[in-house]
Every structure is written in structure tokens, then in C-alpha cells.
């Protein structure tokens, strides 16, 4: 999936360099492409670390963070889709607001997860592993917020 995303991103860049008139500002298209690609990278990294560190099984907190991430990506899809029709900015704006709310939830969930993690004194190495995994998932959610920021600035420009 990560490679697929890279391919699509690369395709957009090529198109961008060959197209004279673009539906959005060229630099916004570029920024949006990079930000979407970043979400993918962090999702992949989180999964990769779980395999790499050979963790026994996902913790409850990891599952919770992933649930938030799934919702954030769903809202990201909505926001990006809405760019087709900038005359109706409301659904796009709603999605962006939702992403911001989910990012806060992600922060909160990460904090709770860390607090629980560092209370299990007996297994410091496991704690180190999970701290990094949580961090990757949380960063993936942050990247959704970056996408929302770019889309909001596109809305402002076109208003």
C-alpha cells in the first residue's frame, strides 16, 4: 500500500509539471500530496514496528489509537473528496473540524497509554517498544490534521 501511495503521488507530480491550468493552486496540490503520503508512511511504520519488535499482541491502547486513526482517515477521505465541489464547502469544513477533534482524542489516548505503560515497571523493554509504536500511530493522526490544515487554507483561498 505504501508503494501504491508513492506511485500515485509520483503520478500527481508528473501531471502537475505537465499541466498548465490546475483546479487548485499548484503548490497546494503538491503540499496535499506530500501530506497524504505522510499519513501512509506513519501507518506503515506503526505496523512495521510491531512486527519488528515481535510484540506478543496489540495492547488495548494500541487498538484504541487505531480506532481513532480509522475515523480520522475516513474524515480525510471526505475532506479530500469535497474538494471537487468547492462551491459547497460545508461538508469539507465539517470533515476538517472532525479531524481536529479526533487529533485531540488521539493526543489524549496516547497520554493515557503512556501513563499506563510506564506503570508496568517490570518490563522496561516492552515499554520502550510500545512507546514508539503509540508514537507512530499518534503521528499518523497528526498527519491527518496537516491534511485538514492544507484543505482549510484551500477553502479560505477559494471563498
Amino acid at each position: 500500500m505504501e508503494h501504491d501511495a508513492d506511485e500515485v503521488a509520483h503520478g500527481i507530480m508528473n501531471k502537475l509539471n505537465m499541466t498548465f491550468v490546475t483546479p487548485l493552486d499548484r503548490e497546494d496540490i503538491h503540499a496535499l500530496t506530500c501530506a497524504l503520503d505522510d499519513i501512509m508512511d506513519f501507518i506503515e511504520a506503526a505496523v512495521d514496528r510491531m512486527a519488528l519488535y515481535e510484540v506478543a499482541k496489540p495492547t488495548e491502547e494500541a487498538i484504541k489509537l487505531c480506532n481513532i486513526l480509522v475515523q480520522a482517515t475516513e474524515q480525510t477521505v471526505k475532506a479530500v473528496y469535497g474538494l471537487r465541489d468547492l462551491k459547497k464547502p460545508e461538508p469539507v469544513r465539517e470533515a476538517c473540524v472532525a479531524i481536529n477533534r479526533l487529533e485531540n482524542e488521539g493526543d489524549q489516548a496516547n497520554r493515557m497509554a503512556l501513563s499506563k505503560l510506564f506503570q508496568m515497571h517490570d518490563e522496561p523493554i516492552e515499554a520502550l517498544k510500545w512507546r514508539e509504536i503509540y508514537d507512530q500511530i499518534e503521528t499518523a493522526i497528526d498527519e491527518c490534521e496537516d491534511v485538514a490544515d492544507i484543505i482549510e487554507s484551500v477553502l479560505l483561498k477559494s471563498a
Binding site: M13, N17, R26, E27, H30, C34, L52, K129
Partner: protein, 209 residues
């Protein structure tokens, strides 16, 4: 629609960027030297700190010039973004060396040298890409290094993964693991920052294409 571009022939901005890029390459070499010959730890961390200071000065003079100039060869915000991204690259190179010293690691793990070697390549590509800005007609001179930087960043990811796997398999002292997780993390982040520079360069090309 006709597009006008006002590009003064003599451009101090480009010279300043070239200078910064050269410092980045030197910094990466300095880090690599430290990881292969750890007796240089004190000397090279000191050199890196000086480089960081001198780069801050160069960045300042770019900002200064930016405030004084009415016409800039590329958009003002791009000049600013480029300068601060390049500054970030050095910050992470310096921080990587600094953490090794600060945490008093016995000796650098092998993969640290590998990552530093990748950083030498990435900074060289930055140097070439940034230099391409001064003769804008040939956009491949800018875009080709960007592609390379992306590839190098992927390579660094892989090296970091292998480094972490080996770390967790071989090292049983939790604090040593924590130290090296952070050092590897910073080294890898330095290559991410190189990618950010590439993204700014790409976006400048995209805008002016």
C-alpha cells in the same frame, strides 16, 4: 496568460544557499568521521556545534536580506522555508552526535556509521539541487536530486529498521536500548529533514513551471 519572471542576474540568495548547502555536506562528513573513529567524539561534536552557530548566522543574513529586498528571485516564503528546512537538517545531524556524547555510549553501533554515510549522500544531493535554483531553466537539475533524496530517505528507513531489530535482539540493558533508539531516531530524522528540503525544492519548481 503571459507569465513574467523577474530574475536578477546577480543573486546573493543563491550564493547564500550554496554556502549553507556546503556546510551541510561538511557536517554530515564530520558526523560520519565521528561514528567511524570515536576518539574524535569531543572534537567533532565541538566542530558541529560551531557549524550550527555559523549556519544560524547565514540563515539570519538570508532573513535580513529578505526584509531589505523588494524583488526576490523566488517567492519570499519559499526562501524562508528553504532556509529553515536546511537549518533543520544540521540541527538533527548535530543532535545525533551530541546524544552519543551526552549519553556516554561506549562506541557507536555500526548502523550509526551507515546512516551517517547516507546523510553524506543526501546532503550532497541537497547541494546539487539547491545549486540548480540559480539556473532555473533546467528543472531536472533540481528535480533529479530530489528523487535521489527520496530514495536515500527510504534507504535510511531500512537501515534504521535493521538497526532497531538488532538492538532489541542483542542488547539486554533497557537504558542502552533507550539511548540507541533515540540516536537512531535522530539520525533517521535528519534524512527526513533532507526530504523536507527536497519537498520545498519540488514545490518551488511546481510553482514556477
Amino acid at each position: 496568460m503571459k507569465k513574467f519572471r523577474f530574475m536578477p542576474t546577480e543573486e546573493p540568495f543563491f550564493d547564500l544557499f550554496d554556502d549553507i548547502a556546503k556546510v551541510l555536506v561538511e557536517a554530515a562528513k564530520c558526523l560520519h568521521e565521528l561514528t567511524t573513529d570515536y576518539s574524535l567524539c569531543d572534537t567533532n561534536t565541538r566542530i558541529l556545534r560551531q557549524m550550527e552557530k555559523s549556519l544560524d548566522c547565514a540563515t539570519d543574513s538570508i532573513c535580513q536580506r529578505l526584509n531589505d529586498s523588494f524583488v526576490t528571485p523566488i517567492d519570499r516564503e519559499d526562501i524562508h522555508a528553504l532556509a529553515s528546512c536546511m537549518d533543520d537538517v544540521l540541527d538533527y545531524i548535530e543532535a545525533s552526535a551530541d546524544r552519543m556524547k551526552l549519553y556516554g555510549v561506549d562506541k557507536p553501533r555500526e548502523e550509526a556509521a551507515e546512516l551517517a554515510a547516507i546523510l553524506i549522500e543526501s546532503t550532497k544531493q541537497i547541494r546539487d539541487g539547491v545549486h540548480g535554483l540559480s539556473h532555473f531553466r533546467d528543472i531536472d537539475a533540481i528535480l533529479t536530486p530530489c528523487v535521489e533524496i527520496n530514495k536515500l530517505e527510504n534507504q535510511a528507513d531500512q537501515v534504521q529498521r535493521m538497526a532497531l531489530r538488532r538492538l532489541f535482539r542483542e542488547e539486554k540493558r533497557p537504558l542502552e536500548i533507550a539511548k540507541w533508539m533515540e540516536i537512531f531516531g535522530r539520525l533517521e530524522k535528519a534524512t527526513d529533514k533532507c526530504e523536507d528540503v527536497a519537498n520545498v525544492l519540488e514545490s518551488i519548481v511546481v510553482k514556477n513551471a
